[in-house]
Each structure stands twice: as C-alpha cells, then as structure tokens.
Amino acid sequence: MDGAISVRSLRVRRGGRLVLRDLSLSVAPGRLTGLLGPNGSGKTTLMRAIVGVQVVEAGAVVVLGEPAGSPELRWRVGYVTQAPSVYGDLTVRENLRYFARVLDRPESTVDEALGTVGLVALAEQLTATLSGGERARVSLATALLNKPDVLVLDEPTVGLDPVLRRDLWATFRRLADGGTTLLVSSHVMEEAARCDDLLLLRDGALLAALTPAELRERTGEHELEQAFLRLAEGAA
C-alpha cells in the first residue's frame, strides 16, 4: 500500500454488467501513469471509483492514505471527465472563475490555467460557441486551478490537434516533475510512450503494469501499438 492510489479487489457493476472484476493495482506518487485499454475495458469506471463518484460492489480504493471520496480528498484530487463538463452558457473566464471560487483559489489562478491550456485569447468567448477541442481544454483548465496532488484525467487529448497534444503532454510531464501524481487514460498507444508507468486494462482486469520500455522488451515490439496488441492477443 505504498502508492498514491491503491486499488484492491475492486468490483464494479454498471447497468447489470460486471465492468471491473477484482481489480487490484497501484499508482506511484509523483509519476505520470498511463491507463490504457480498448473501449469498454473499464478505464472510466476505474477513474470514477478513484475520485469517489462510482458506487462499488466490493473492494477498496485508497487515495493519499484516505478512502476514495472522503471530504479531505476533494481538495487534493482533480478530475477531468471525458466529455467536457463546463457551463456552455458562461464565458470561458466565468466558468473558471466559478470553479476557482469553489476551490477557494485566487483570481490569478484563472489566468495561469488559461495560459497553460492556451485559451487566453478565447477567455471572453461563450463556452458553447467553442470547438470541441477548445471546450475540452476549458474542462482541463478547471482541474489545474488548485494544483491538486492527484490529477485524474479521462482521455484529455481526444480530438485535439497534434501541436496541442504535444503541449499538453509537456504540461503533464511538468506537473509530474513538480510532484503531482497523474493518472491519464488514453486509447492512443503513441501517448503511452510519454508515460513513466503503464497500466493496461482489458475486460475490467489488469493485463499488465509496467514501463513503456518493459512493454517493448517483453513483447519484442518497438511500436507500442503493436506491443499492446501482442500482449492483449497473447493473453486471450
């Protein structure tokens, strides 16, 4: 139980389907951990359990030494959902200002977060009029307001152009180097190369927990995409 996040024998059922089956894993503190797996492998459900909004059937999730979802963690854990969860009928700045007040952060953090996600020029724009990628960045900026110790990001780079994707991964790297624990889900294998550790999920179970180098080594494939396929099919 030395991880920033540790999950033990977690079982979750959603809509009658067993989405996570006795899942156990651990996420090391201050590292950038990628959560990879095909659609429907349980990535989002695992993240919801970690931030404490998922009803779980059995098992334990401990974050920073506290049970997931405990009140103290609401200050220390940031979560960005897959679909941008921001108010379309507010401007970008108004959105961030509201969340900053909820998190008890000063106004200056809003500008900082806007800078990080490259939205300074669009700050006064109504959020509903932004493109999908821009809205996703507003949603991401919200989670950066209070510099949480643990940041859980559900496919934060989906639909973003390559330049932006590179910049955001650079931001994730900077945050991890600064001591933040990041858990980032993706189903794009090229993003796996940017992570320190990888957790590979399939059908609600942990397929492997290793580093990108170990994944290449174990499968003999240089391309992580191929390596993942090999591992997934080999285990089937």
């Binding site: 059922r13 959603r14 809509g15 931030v51 404490g52 909004v53 998922q54 009803v55 979802g69 009140p71 609401r74 200050w75 854990v77 979560y79 959902t81 679909a83 941008p84 969860s85 921001v86 108010y87 379309g88 009928d89 507010l90 108004e94 509201y98 969340f99 007040r101 909820v102 998190l103 008890d104 109504l126 919200t142």
Partner: protein
C-alpha cells in the same frame, strides 16, 4: 456549508440567466400575459369582482409554475452535462449547490413577481382588501416554493422529456385541489385530506386570505406551512443528490 461556495453558486446561476435574455424575458412576459388574459376572459357585470377574487391568488400561481419548470430543467442540465458530477468531486456541500440555486432563483422570482404585481395592480386595476405588499411578498414566496419543488423533483427525472412532464403531473393536481376551483370543505373527504398535504393549498390559502382581507392565526399557519414546505423540499433535494452514482 460555506458562504463562499453558496454565493459563488448563486452568482454563477444568475450569470447563466444573464447570458440567456430570452429565458429572462419569458420568465417575466408569460405570467404578465396570463394575468392580462385572466382579466379579459371575464366579461359582463361581475367581471371586475371575479378578477379581484381570483387575481390575487393567481399572482402567486403563475410564478410558482414557471420557476418550477425553469429550476427542474436547470438542475437536470447540471446532471446531464457532467458539471454536477464534477462539482461533487470538489469541496462543495450539497446544500451549497441547492441554496445557491435557491438564492439566485429567489432573486429572479422577486423581480418576476414584482413586475407581474405592478402590472396587475397598475394597468389591470386589480383590487385586494389586504395590503399590496403582502400579495407581492407571498407571490415571491410562491415562486421560491416552486423553485424548491422543481429542484427536488429534478432528482427523479432522467431526461428533459420526463422533467417537463412533472409539471402537469405534480403541479396541476395541486391546482385542482387547492381551493381555487371549488371550496375544499365541499370536496369529497379523501380529496380534502389530500389537499391538506399539498404545498399549493397553503400558497393559495395565504393569498386568498390577503385578497379577502382576512387575517389572523390561519394566515400565520399558511405562511409557516409555505416556509416549511420550501425548506423540506430543499432538504429532500439534498438527500436525493448522491455523490456516488451507479
């Protein structure tokens, strides 16, 4: 609960309203148009007297209905867009959110009820025996009750289709039972008993008493019941708001 988060939420909800001028216009214009219509559907010698009798109570019912609809949809939207889930992972008490909504919509309701009352007592020449201010205060209280009920029932709606149908399902029966159409004492006993449990009964009763200039303990009881139902609806709203969902 935190004052900071509650006021931030109220400001945010008002900002959202400000970005939607058409909704604000509808919130004010629809009850105004309905009260005007009410005045002119009554014709003949007794027309003025009938308008004076039902006009006062209905000044409260129209804002109640519109606030019920607007808040139940607003809260449902908060659920379906994921902003509710995000807020619930943050240091925000459930009552911060509900009271924030309540404060924002109460302010909107105050503007709405005041303008509708101004129209009714001014251009439409509505006469009540009690003080005008009491009618306005009760109309605002009605709107706040409608808002609290809307917040509560939104917990049971999974879609906008369901949410809008809660209005006729939840509010119209109360309107039939509240005493506006028929005196409650003359209803079949079971219906009268049900009417005692309906919040709208007290809302109607209080306005009816002020309209007729009848005060006393019964009016105090009505007002207390109105406040109690509002608080109860908010409390139930907080209970039905779950941080963890399946």
């Amino acid at each position: 609960m935190s004052l900071r988060v509650t006021t931030a939420t109220a400001r945010r909800v008002l900002l959202q309203l400000r970005h939607d001028p058409r909704t604000v216009l509808l919130l004010v214009a629809v009850p105004c148009a309905l009260v005007a219509l009410l005045k002119y559907v009554f014709a003949g010698g007794q027309a003025g007297a009938v308008f004076d009798r039902v006009g006062g109570p209905l000044l409260g019912v129209f804002p109640l209905v519109s606030m019920f609809l607007v808040t139940s949809i607003a809260m449902l939207r908060e659920r379906t867009t994921g902003t509710l889930e995000r807020l619930l992972t943050m240091p925000l008490a459930k009552l911060d959110l509900l009271v924030g909504y309540a404060v924002a919509f109460a302010l909107a309701a105050a503007v709405q009820a005041t303008l509708v009352s101004a129209l009714a007592f001014g251009a439409l020449d509505l006469h009540v025996r009690g003080p005008t201010w009491a009618v306005i205060v009760l109309a605002v209280a009605n709107a706040v009750l409608g808002m609290a009920l809307g917040l509560f029932v939104s917990a049971f709606a999974r879609s906008e289709f369901q949410a809008v149908q809660f209005m006729p399902a939840f509010v119209l029966p109360q309107l039939l039972l509240c005493g506006l159409l028929a005196p409650r004492q003359e209803m079949a006993r079971p219906l009268e008993v049900v009417s005692w449990a309906a919040p709208l009964t007290y809302a109607y009763d209080a306005l009816d008493r002020v309209t007729r200039g009848v005060y006393g303990g019964a009016l105090v009881r009505d007002v207390l019941a109105l406040v109690a139902f509002t608080l109860l609806a908010l409390a139930l709203g907080a209970v039905t708001l779950r941080r963890r969902t399946p």
